[in-house]
């Protein structure tokens, strides 16, 4: 932190000071650092206050911006009584199920593909261009094609999310595999490991930290594809809930749905980081 502050300071020549107190002119032995977390908390608090104030002063119509209290009230109602024939929990579980089904599909395809890219030139030649082609396409662009091919059922929704997850999983796996130290592989071979044993006992565990990072990115990508996936013919799901609320201008449900999606994304990220700490405690300590 102090290093970046140091490099950013302008190069002031001696005598240019004009008697003004320049904060970086003298090294101060005791600096009180404000933790970034505290700043974040204050920022969020200020935003909430601004939101409450603008809503209660009726600066904008509640159709555009419902008050936090209204959103909270809606949260309680939807959690208890539901919205469009399903409770909030049912919407949430429907969405979570889709995202996790897609994650498992993305792991089953993406990890072997990443492994192939990482260990074989042919694998890289085959899969690299495909992934590079797929990666930048927004999910909404291929959604219609998938519906034409696979219909409007559950598999299409899961597929849309899984495609969004595939590239991060495969590319992170490939990066992890390519990063395995040569010496580690050579040591295993000189201890009698066959090619298959090297992959199973050395390359995959070595790449695990990178694979988990890929899963974390994939989960984020998949979660943000959710609303697109639930655009068509869904009857449950957070994305569907927001969609239908928007059609009837039930803005408080829309805002509440957005907040729930954000909070769940945060929780998922937190859980994966925990899993990383348990599964790959050596990451960053080598």
């Amino acid at each position: 932190m102090s290093v970046s502050a140091y490099s950013e300071r302008p190069t002031a020549k001696a005598g240019e000071n004009d008697g003004f107190s320049v904060p970086w002119s003298r090294p101060r032995p005791k600096r009180t650092f404000v933790s970034a977390r505290l700043v974040s908390a204050i920022t969020i608090l200020l935003l909430l206050i601004a939101w409450t104030a603008s809503a209660s002063l009726q600066l904008v119509s509640p159709v555009f911006l419902p008050s936090p209290a209204a959103v909270w009230a809606k949260f309680v109602i939807v959690a208890r009584d539901g919205f469009v024939d399903a409770t909030l929990l049912q919407h949430l579980l429907a969405s979570l199920w889709r995202v996790f089904a897609a994650l498992i599909a993305a792991i089953l395809v993406g990890v072997p593909v990443g492994l192939a890219i990482g260990i074989s030139r042919i694998g890289r030649g085959v899969f690299d261009p495909l992934l590079e082609f797929l990666r930048p396409i927004p999910p909404l662009a291929y959604l219609p094609l998938i519906i034409i091919w696979f219909g409007i059922g559950e598999p299409s929704k899961i597929l849309v999310i899984a495609i969004a997850m595939l590239a991060p999983v495969a590319l992170s796996t490939a990066a992890g595999v390519r990063g395995v130290s040569r010496e580690r592989v050579d040591a295993a071979r000189s201890l009698g490991a066959t090619r298959a044993q090297v992959i199973r006992h050395v390359i995959l565990p070595s790449a695990l930290p990178s694979i988990l990072t890929g899963l974390r990115i994939a989960l984020g990508a998949g979660w943000s594809t959710l609303v697109a996936a639930e655009l068509v013919a869904a009857t449950r799901g957070l994305g569907f809930m927001i969609q239908s609320a928007a059609q009837f201008l039930v803005t408080d449900v829309v805002v509440m749905g957005i907040l729930v999606i954000a909070i769940i994304a945060f929780v998922l990220e937190f859980i994966i980081r925990r899993i990383e700490r348990v599964l790959v405690p050596w990451a960053g300590r080598e």
């Binding site: 010496e183 050579d186 071979r189 000189s190 201890l191 009698g192 565990p205």
Partner: protein
């Protein structure tokens, strides 16, 4: 009696015009401790990799007991400068790795691993994770792991290169102890002149451009340690100082120092 023989071996890497090693011959028997020394770029590590089967010679022949070396094998276990241990395994599991590859049962390989850990004086570190160990301890685990494969030959690529001077000195006697206990032939690459003298039964001095043998010394200081003489006494022997001067001359021959 096992023999590891490099016969007029040359190594030419892809895309390079000059060979890294040209027509070098080595002969290592069980019980030998052969040390390769020489300035940077003299092809020490290339030769070790040929013996390990990790690099294919572009000329000449590498054999073990008359059979050509076609790839790495557990009869020639390698220990690298950076331990190349597996951080997702405990020290014991690392040592047992070669046995696991062979399908040895879990309790049998744990027992063997503990024996080997005691041999390298890490008897109580079996459950430790690799990142909890110091550099010297890691290298001990690496040696124990190599010995678990029950190799005929131990190939050491600057195994003590990354250690501090004091740990290094202590590890030298550990190496001698292991060499005596395991009855293996050792081929080791080092930059340390004193280290070479302490350990070797034979020192092969290489010079660069392309790598070739300039001189071979038969030494006996390691055997004296194995016979029970303390290492300090050996190093204080005037013969040791004289050998050291000779070896230094040979390494820097033809170079203004």
């Amino acid at each position: 009696m096992s023999h590891l023989i490099l016969d007029k071996v040359s190594v030419l890497y892809d895309g390079q015009k000059a060979p890294a090693v040209e027509r070098v011959s080595l002969d290592i028997s069980k019980g030998d401790f052969v040390v390769l020394v020489g300035r940077s770029g003299c092809g020490k590590t290339s030769l070790l990799n040929v013996a390990a089967g990790l690099v294919e010679p572009s000329g000449g022949l590498a054999t073990v007991d008359g059979r050509p070396i076609t790839g790495p094998g557990s009869d020639r276990a390698v220990v690298f400068q950076n331990d190349a241990l597996f951080p997702w395994l405990t020290a014991r599991e690392n040592v047992a790795f070669a046995l696991r590859l062979r399908g040895v049962s879990a309790d049998k390989r744990a027992r063997r691993a503990d024996e080997l850990l005691s041999l390298v004086k890490l008897g109580d570190a079996g459950d430790k994770r690799i990142w909890e160990l110091s550099g010297g301890m890691r290298q001990r685990v690496g040696l124990a792991r190599a010995l678990a494969a029950e190799p005929e030959f131990l190939l050491l690529d600057e195994p003590l290169g990354a250690l501090d001077a004091l740990t290094r000195e202590r590890m030298q006697t550990t190496l001698l102890d292991l060499w005596a206990a395991a009855q293996v032939g050792v081929l080791m690459v080092t930059h340390g002149i004193e280290e070479a003298l302490v350990l070797a039964t034979r020192i092969v001095v290489l010079a660069p451009g392309p790598g070739h043998v300039v001189r071979t010394f038969e030494t006996h200081f390691g055997r004296r340690y194995a016979a029970g003489e303390p290492i300090r006494t050996i190093k204080a022997d005037p013969a040791f100082a004289a050998a050291r001067a000779d070896l230094t001359d040979a390494i820097f021959e033809g170079e203004a120092v």
